[in-house]
Symmetry: C2
Subunit: 449 residues, 2 copies
């Protein structure tokens, strides 16, 4: 029989958003209960144990300047950060040529680099015109929401090489293809994360810092603080509400509460059975926010041997299944870890392969980037987030054409006693860990008000 | 306790697709069980009782030439058809002007009409190049799937008036906005339904005939033939499969079968809990097929008084919330029924209003189309299909940019012992009742093979 529990606020999902909301509501003296489907907390953050106390992340991992809320949170939890490794040269494989270069850009044709820079400047200029809390009120919202980012990308850069480079950056930023996303949504996202440069760089950008102990540690610490107010292996199947109370049913419990916060990705939120049913608009909004697609892989070596060769470990190509790799070794550089990102269309194909074939494709790519030695790691791990039942795709949900302008105002609007959190609901750093924290803070305020 | 049942093939959903599949599988000597969430059969077809044995449809209703499978089915079931009423003049309200005209097109500026005709010809020409069973293999598939239908619509017609007219037609055809749909998807759909003209016209087109007794009668008759092999009020929550058997769990039954056919809209299919979980690609496909949005309203009068004034009852405007109205009276013209269609963006706004406000908006529109008397019916009924828990939007699902080319090959591919039906899976007449019948026939063949 289902265990019966009571609390002021029930929270669906023990990712960052749900746990932050729970902490703040509990700190304000209300009782909470976080219901988590998995046997672990952390949602889209997940540590992989490398042995000897070392970890690397299979999910979200970086933080950077202006992500003030996640920095504040980890400081409060007594967690340290360390800088991402980026000393040394990078590698680019473009149209049969191998570029080895220091700094941000390979020594390509100046015309291509200028074209690329101009396209980026245009994105930033347009992005600044999108109001973060009301993207549908941007001066050209309807026009920008009518077309895909891909249509813009066909038009804006003048050279095929700049377009192809921009495509690599954009699919890396969204874990989706430019045709999956409306231009307005892309501009909102860039503005939400400050600028194209901030989104795409390490030092000074969104990939600047890493978290000592792995990003999942943030959720683990939050959950420790909540003690038995977190219930694992309790997937929420049904939410019933009356005018004054909610009842949340999981596979192992029935929880009576005064409010409920749903803090899971949109495509999972719509799979819960609501009574009374969600209004048509809310349901249709949730139908329209699919998750991105990324396979993240880690190759582990005795040491980060590329560093001795003056390489940063960062390499990219528009042509290979692995769009980019980077040095993701622990703070002390032992063991060496190269992480591969397969995103968008390429992840959708590779995800259909068997694990062994997938491993081979990834290691072949790494070898092409950094040499044969890189193709023979002592260990290999990967995760296709679209196959994870309690996520169904990473990094986050994206907004196809027409969604922001037709459904946007419903995104954060409570439905009776049901409130909505999750990084996808955040105006600032939407889709990032910082956005998740902000959404937890916003929803806690809402519930406590 | 859940009732236990056994059969060869369990079928999820007693809409046309599921019932046709069930009939054919049963005819082949296999035992079937159709599990339906609602307390009725028919899915997106639903009769409204007008009293005295008269009905009108709240959902899908028309059939027309080349829809051979639905015609064959209704003939087999002994059901009759009658022609849609279209004698008399039509009305168009465009930019403050009122046009009353016979035939297909208002007497507008010849340049506009030529521009419109040319744009339609271009759509048809491109549509013919999309292979119905493999839209992703169209010669320009990637290019066409990268942009929205709206982007094409901004570019192709030369005049704003033709563009606005085309917009009315397209939103009426899709119950979605041109920005919601990829150009490739729109072209596939037009080809799937023969041509733009066939999709948009009455005599000789997809709206040519109506079904005596209402379209839901087809499902009712099919269900009668299946007797107690149809279980109502049995929403399927979970499907478990092993290498050789499936177990389908509903709120009232647990069904053991050798195969299962899922014949519900994609956004409902993804809400079922599958064990083992669906592959990532399949889940992400289902995340990406949102339902269209339509509110259909019926105003009932003692008689179809507009006929005496030489009017067909058909009227349309790009500017009003109700995009078009039409004479939907029973075969004998008694009572008079005017049906209103609110589609896409307009349905998304109007769906957020209270029923009384919605009724007022609709009746105001009807009065503007056909005069004050039309604004005072003896009865009024409407249905917002996005609020229907076991449909969540009509007419059907649409394909946003990037979906056909990245996920299309998965659309009909079985997952172990799970087979997929529903009008959205049909190559021919996708999205229509005929497509539903064809998908039922195709899946029955698959299962019996």
């Amino acid at each position: 029989m289902a265990e019966r529990r009571e609390c002021d606020v029930a929270i669906v999902g023990a990712g960052l958003a749900g746990l932050v909301a729970a902490k703040l509501i509990a700190d304000a003296g209300r009782s909470v209960l976080v219901l988590e489907a998995r046997d672990r907390v952390g949602g889209r953050t997940l540590n992989l144990d490398l042995g000897e106390g070392k970890v690397v992340e299979l999910g979200g991992q970086w933080i950077g300047p202006t992500q003030d809320r996640i920095y504040a949170l980890i400081a409060e939890l007594g967690i340290d950060t360390f800088p991402s490794y980026e000393a040394g040269d990078s590698i680019a494989l473009v149209r049969g040529k191998r570029y080895r270069y220091p700094g941000e850009m390979p020594g390509m044709n100046r015309l291509v680099l200028a074209d690329f820079a101009q396209a980026v400047a245009r994105i930033d200029r347009m992005a600044k015109r999108v109001p973060l809390d009301r993207p549908w009120d941007a001066p050209r919202a309807r026009t920008w929401d009518r077309e895909t980012l891909a249509a813009w990308l066909r038009r804006a850069p003048k050279t095929a090489a700049a377009r192809s480079m921009l495509q690599v950056y954009l699919t890396a930023i969204f874990a989706a293809e430019p045709e999956d996303i409306s231009l307005l949504a892309a501009l909102f996202y860039v503005h939400s994360g400050t600028s194209f440069e901030v989104l795409s760089t390490w030092e000074g950008g969104a990939q600047q810092d890493r978290i000592v102990g792995g990003s999942q540690l943030v959720s683990t610490r939050l959950a420790e603080g909540l003690a038995d107010a977190v219930q694992l292996e309790a997937p929420v199947r049904r939410i019933r509400q009356t005018a004054s109370s909610v009842q949340v049913e999981t596979d192992r419990s029935a929880v009576a509460a005064r409010r409920v916060v749903v803090a899971v990705p949109p495509t999972l939120a719509v799979r819960i059975d609501y009574h009374p049913p969600l209004p048509g608009g809310r349901d249709q909004l949730l139908q329209r926010l699919p998750q991105g697609t990324v396979i993240k892989a880690h190759a582990v070596y005795d040491e980060p041997f590329w560093r001795k060769e003056g390489l940063a470990g960062f390499a990219w190509s528009p042509h290979l299944p692995v769009s980019f790799i980077l040095d993701n070794s622990p703070p002390d550089g032992s063991p060496g870890v190269l992480s591969s990102f397969i995103v968008g269309r390429k992840a959708r194909s590779l995800g259909r392969e068997e694990p062994e074939a997938r491993r081979k494709v990834v290691l072949d790519c790494i070898a092409r980037y950094l040499g044969l030695r890189a193709g023979e790691p002592r260990a290999y791990h990967d995760l296709d987030w679209s196959a994870e039942v309690w996520t169904r795709g990473c990094y986050g949900a994206h907004f196809p054409p027409g969604v922001w302008t037709q459904f946007g105002p419903l995104l954060r609007e409570p439905v009776g006693l049901i409130h909505w959190a999750g990084s996808e609901t955040s105006a600032v750093w939407n889709g990032y860990m910082d956005g998740a924290v902000r959404s937890g803070e916003r929803v806690a305020q809402e519930v406590l008000a």
